[in-house]
């Protein structure tokens, strides 16, 4: 069985491997064919980003403030020419980001994000080691205070539970033993005088526990690097434990559904055979027939950041992401400041009545901004070159652009009805005048952005 490569399949791929695309971007991706499209997205080192990086730098986001970091990251998600690079960086951000309220140093948080981006698709070992020695993470999960004389098991536990193996695949003894192995990995120059921004990793042999440890059945005088190797090499009768853990999570992230056992098995096989190369696991997912199956379509509930970014991207809006950044708390996701080590729950957990209103308020801000700063888009450009003579035609045009053209006829009718409805509630006929475009096309954008169909990617 091979995938029926259609324009809709390309749109699905771009929603999942990126943050959604414009009609032109979807057309271009479709034209590459399935393998060409996946390769284009996955092997993104070939895409030149220099002009985008210059443009981004010129926006002068204040990277010493949380809100500036949020703007900067969402700008990258929306406008980087490498959508999957940002989608993978965002995956790692969701996987193990550290919270700025505890870490304090904005530069440390920025550097962690850069590390995630640089190593996003490489060998998992390199990424786990870099994160375990990342100053923000060392502070966030207290390994900076983990010493031979006074072990602290916070990072050791989450390293195995949340980051590599999953619960049930290690014991409490493994937690305390890994903690001992990680003693001595700490930070230096972490102080208020430099706003905590100058901290660097240091391996302090004086606070390292040189005794024998037993980790996942192996005994020796292990250090942190050894412990990470043992954890990532850990295998049981079903193969690599970290391969299954990471494969299942990446599948959920990209396919929006729980991975069936045979998929988990297949992905851990690729993980092992590729030498734990994340890029190959991702490539396998994005080429998989199941990834394009009906049951994976429109199943991923966009997180708040994705929601904000997708609306900007798909409307070809310009944005400094200030309104989005300011809306994140209400939507339930303060980027770079999760409340705990697990980060946020995905899926329907993003959605509740308050979060929904916060999303609607943000999209109303976008839809009704008639100025040229903040987040704004050009209503006439959206209709340019198309037949926008009737309510039905405008609805179909915008539904296609926002990838919400898969709704039932009942929902489509409600949108058409909205377009034709007069202020007094009576039913009229929408006509394409600049005044009607300014009022009802903006209104329709707002309504569509708040539909269940747009909360799903």
């Amino acid at each position: 069985m091979s995938v029926n490569w259609t324009r809709d399949a390309a749109a699905h791929l771009l929603r999942r491997a990126g943050f959604g695309g414009t009609p032109a971007e979807i057309d271009a991706l479709f034209a590459r064919g399935q393998e060409g499209a996946v390769s284009y997205l996955v092997d993104y080192d070939a895409i030149d980003t220099s002009s985008y990086e210059s443009a981004l730098a010129a926006r002068n986001y204040n990277l010493l403030k949380t809100i500036g970091l949020q703007q900067w990251f969402m700008d990258r998600m929306a406008f980087s020419p490498r959508p999957l690079e940002e989608k993978m960086t965002y995956f790692w951000n969701l996987h193990w980001t550290s919270g700025i309220s505890k870490v304090k140093g904005a530069t440390l948080i920025l550097n962690q994000n850069k590390t995630e981006r640089t190593l996003a698709m490489g060998k998992f070992d390199d990424l786990v080691l870099a994160i375990s020695q990342d100053p923000a993470m060392l502070v966030w999960l207290d390994n900076d205070t983990n010493k031979a004389s006074k072990p602290n098991e916070n990072y050791a536990r989450e390293l195995m539970e949340l980051f590599t193996l999953g619960i049930g695949n290690y014991t409490q003894t493994d937690v305390t033993e890994v903690a001992r192995a990680l003693t001595g990995w700490t930070v230096q120059n972490y102080n208020k005088a430099t706003n905590y921004n100058q901290a660097t990793f240091v391996n302090n042999p004086n606070t390292h526990d040189n005794g024998s440890k037993t980790i996942l059945g192996q005994t020796g005088n292990f250090d942190g690097t050894d412990a990470i190797g043992i954890i990532l090499n850990h295998a049981d009768s079903a193969g690599s434990v970290s391969g299954r853990f990471l494969g299942a999570k990446l599948w959920l992230y990209f396919a929006g559904t729980e991975a069936a056992d045979y998929l988990v098995d297949e992905l851990q096989g690729v993980y092992v055979s590729s030498g734990r190369m994340i890029r190959e696991v991702v490539r396998t997912i994005l080429l998989h027939d199941d990834f394009y199956a009906d049951h994976t379509l429109k199943t991923w509930v966009r997180s708040p950041a994705e929601y904000a970014v997708a609306s900007v991207r798909m409307l070809e809006a310009d944005s400094d992401f200030s309104s989005a950044a300011n809306s994140l708390a209400g939507m339930g996701q303060v980027l770079f400041n999760p409340s705990d080590a697990k980060g946020w729950d995905w899926g329907i957990a993003w959605m509740n009545t308050g979060a929904l209103f916060a999303r609607a308020t943000l999209s109303n801000t976008l839809a009704t901004n008639r100025g040229t700063s903040g987040t704004h888009f050009d209503t006439t450009a959206l209709l340019a070159g198309a037949d926008a003579s009737t309510a039905e035609k405008v609805v179909d045009l915008l539904a296609s652009r926002l990838n919400v053209d898969d709704v039932s006829s009942e929902v489509r009718s409600s949108w058409v009805d909205y377009m034709n409805r007069n202020d007094d509630g009576s039913l009229g006929t929408w006509t394409n005048t600049s005044a009607n475009v300014d009022k009802k096309v903006r209104g329709l954008v707002h309504v569509m952005l708040t539909s269940p169909a747009f909360h799903l990617a």
């Binding site: 409600s414 209104g443 707002h446």
Partner: protein, 416 residues
């Protein structure tokens, strides 16, 4: 409240038929509602306070006469002479003067050593276990969600269960009852284009219509639809809450104070609230607990005191009970970072006029720690929950939690 979901649907439907707007879950829930037994105490409200991160019970209710306490807590122990004595062996952390005042008024039950056996010490698994009251994690819905399904499914009231929270707490996750969730009411409404106020109703109607429609994908979109409908119906009612409200308690300036004040406003508005949920975070003190824990307990204690003062001032405290929980207590011995690692059991507080005032359970047994250095469990958390279910909510607790969890006797069964 002479305002029902059906009224709302009819009133706001405008151009779509009412039948198209009735969400599927409401139809499905109807059968269940007919079969269910009404709550015995429909006027009673339960307020649940979740202390997120694992509150350190040993520094909250201190076993101040136990010499092992000072040994185990050599770095961050509470000076035993300073505790607010509850009985001859245990005392509250000295910062908890507010809760102690409620204790002195015989409105506080302390339930000690609450937990469950064989904890993995994971925050996230333990949180799920407490939310669902199921250590096997087979239950999909929360323990109070299951209660709500059995009693409230089919109810017209969109505000029977409400969470003051950034995300919906799993405790309240139900099959048939949806739970409005918000941190403040300031922006809890569907805003539309300020340039065209005349189009507002049309947009709201379009929003409702797209959320009332059938979706081909079975699960997620219909769940999203229900959220959209409940957002509008709850927002409509809540816009009047808090208007002209005068707090009769001195709420501290923090998110818990604000959350409990909002809860007091909802209670005072007589909206038929049965479960109100609020969270407070920051208790995962692996390091620097000596600096961070007392302020957290101050916030908790002062906020609860202000809440009951406020309810008293409005004559509303009689039908309100507050209970606390946290995913675990902490390691008996402090660690070298002036903090504590993950533990097991802890004491919890139940506050209200219906409590049997006093300490229910023994002091923590510091002489018999488990192989990880953690405290033993005396009161299973399902007994803690079950006592509230049966004696406050009038429910058949065994139907929700399974049989065999003894009642802990911290609620007055003849309270009326």
């Amino acid at each position: 409240m002479p305002f029902t979901r059906r009224d709302f649907l009819i009133r706001s439907s405008g151009f779509v038929t009412v039948s198209a707007m009735v969400p599927r879950w409401a139809v499905k829930g109807a059968t269940r509602f007919e079969e269910s037994v009404a709550a015995d105490y429909p006027n009673r409200t339960l307020v649940v306070l979740e202390l997120m991160g694992g509150n350190d019970g040993l520094n909250t209710v201190v076993p101040f006469t136990d010499p092992l306490y000072g040994t185990l807590r050599s770095r961050i122990g509470i000076p035993t002479g300073s505790v607010l004595q509850l009985d001859s062996r245990q005392g509250m952390n000295p910062v908890m003067t507010g809760l102690k005042a409620l204790w002195d008024a015989k409105r506080v039950a302390v339930v000690t050593n609450v937990g469950y056996p064989n904890s993995s010490l994971s925050h996230f698994q333990s949180r799920d276990i407490w939310h669902t009251a199921d250590p096997t994690l087979a239950q999909r819905f929360g323990w109070l969600g299951r209660w709500a399904d059995s009693v409230l499914a089919g109810s017209d009231n969109p505000l029977s269960c409400t969470a003051i929270s950034q995300s919906l707490p799993k405790t309240l996750l139900a099959e048939h009852v949806r739970v409005p969730t918000f941190l403040s009411l300031a922006s809890y409404q569907f805003q539309t284009d300020g340039s065209f106020p005349g189009d507002h109703t049309n947009q709201v109607n379009a929003f409702l219509a797209q959320n009332g429609a059938e979706y081909e994908i079975e699960n997620t979109p219909s769940t999203l639809s229900g959220v959209g409908q409940d957002a509008i119906s709850s927002s409509d009612i809540l816009q009047t809450v808090g208007t002209g409200y005068v707090a009769m308690g001195a709420y501290p300036d923090n998110s818990l104070g604000a959350g409990l004040e909002l809860i007091a406003q909802i209670i005072n508005a007589n909206l038929g609230a049965r479960i109100l949920y609020v969270t407070y975070g920051g208790f995962d003190n692996h390091a620097g607990e000596d600096v961070s824990h007392d302020p957290l307990l101050t916030d908790v204690s002062d906020s609860i005191k202000a809440f009951f003062d406020d309810l008293d001032g409005h004559g509303k405290s009689h039908d309100v009970l507050l209970m606390t929980w946290s995913e675990f207590g902490r390691r008996a011995q402090d660690n070298g970072s002036n903090g504590t690692d993950h533990g097991t059991s802890a004491p919890h507080f139940v506050v209200g006029d219906a409590v049997v005032s006093g300490i229910h359970g023994d002091p923590p047994d510091l002489a018999h720690l488990d192989s990880n250095g953690n405290l033993s469990i005396q009161n299973d958390f399902r007994s803690y929950y079950g006592t509230v279910l049966s004696d406050w909510l009038g429910a058949d607790s065994s139907a929700i939690l399974g049989p065999g969890w003894p009642n802990l006797g911290f609620l007055n069964k003849s309270y009326a």
